[in-house]
Subunit: 243 residues, 2 copies
Amino acid sequence: MIPEDHPRYRSLVARERIAACARHGVVALEGVAAHGRGEAFDYLIGETTTESAARAEQTAAALLLAAAHPVISVNGNTAALAADGVAALQRACGAAVEVNLFHRTESRIEKISAILGKAGARVLDGEAERLLPLSHDRALCLRNGIYAADVVLVPLEDGDRCAALRDMGKTVIAIDLNPLSRTARTASLTIVDELTRALPRITGACETLTPGERERLVFGCDNTVFLREALDEMTRRLCHALD
Amino acid sequence: MIPEDHPRYRSLVARERIAACARHGVVALEGVAAHGRGEAFDYLIGETTTESAARAEQTAAALLLAAAHPVISVNGNTAALAADGVAALQRACGAAVEVNLFHRTESRIEKISAILGKAGARVLDGEAERLLPLSHDRALCLRNGIYAADVVLVPLEDGDRCAALRDMGKTVIAIDLNPLSRTARTASLTIVDELTRALPRITGACETLTPGERERLVFGCDNTVFLREALDEMTRRLCHALD
């Protein structure tokens, strides 16, 4: 058991949860490694939501509320760490929830859908079709889900798929701790924050932002500014790390 | 199959190798996440051996050659990625090789010893005893191995164990891509480089350094300088990442 007053309690609990879900086949081994990469970048922003990330989270809420057909794309890591957070955000913004996996098997789709359902999310089902401009099974998604969406929230997404969604003209909101990743650079809006910190803030903003604030946030959204601010924060912390 | 001309070929091959070894029980799930953290920091030094790391690798060779009883401590990730490299370094510097695991089971010890043996390393065996000043099984090591060593090379080591070895008066050489980790700060010498790049360079230096060069390197070894240089390199790259 990790003591609750451990300074890195949340990070250690998340790591245990990812490992447990990997043992049960919910998280792919590649997902475990990806979680480790995320931990490293989270460490560099101090394992806290920066002021810049908080603004990105408000902007995400504004984009989701302004959408005609918003969809939250959920993979194994997201379900493992934040099924409750996904369900709460769905209630707050009315988005559809679609399970979409890079390492796709029917067994994983079912397990992840069950975790989300248990947390209270309504999960789209149906026959996935090859509708994204990508090779192999990475092209699979639901016709009435991601394919029809105008705004897609993709926590922890692969770079190729993020680019494909952008090429289809969609607004893509990524949650990615690495501000240098292809996903982070390609998305319409990148939230450089840890998933379980980010989702409740997006949900909270959905519930509290006024229409005027929402309009200003959507209008002022500039992803390069958010990425620059995240890099500046990491640089600042690295510079002072040995002082 | 990953194409050999892929710019990140080595990194992707290493990741696949870690995942395959996790499926076979050689690498622990925690080791998969740790590998991901390493990937993130490696990305920040450009996935290349910096001039500073090359000097640290020469210093490591000098320390190993000057030792009375050098030991290379090998865990699951090290065996998965660099069994050949460990065997070659053992031939070059005459160190003993001991399997020492954080997530210790007899089954993993046997599997890892077999991988090392197949690569040509001579692996210490015997009954592990609780000889390190640590709680639980993390205290286990061999009396004629790490316990008796004056210089220990610990690729990818845990911070507590690194500190315990230092407290016992040993010279500890760590290979750790995170210059901010407790291991990196506690070790006598930290090589901020990726394992499969670092080991052949240490081996090469063992074979080519003159006695005079070795003496100068041992005398001039200052770990804070190596850590500072690694952080400077990461900061420099982050600053220019979006230019």
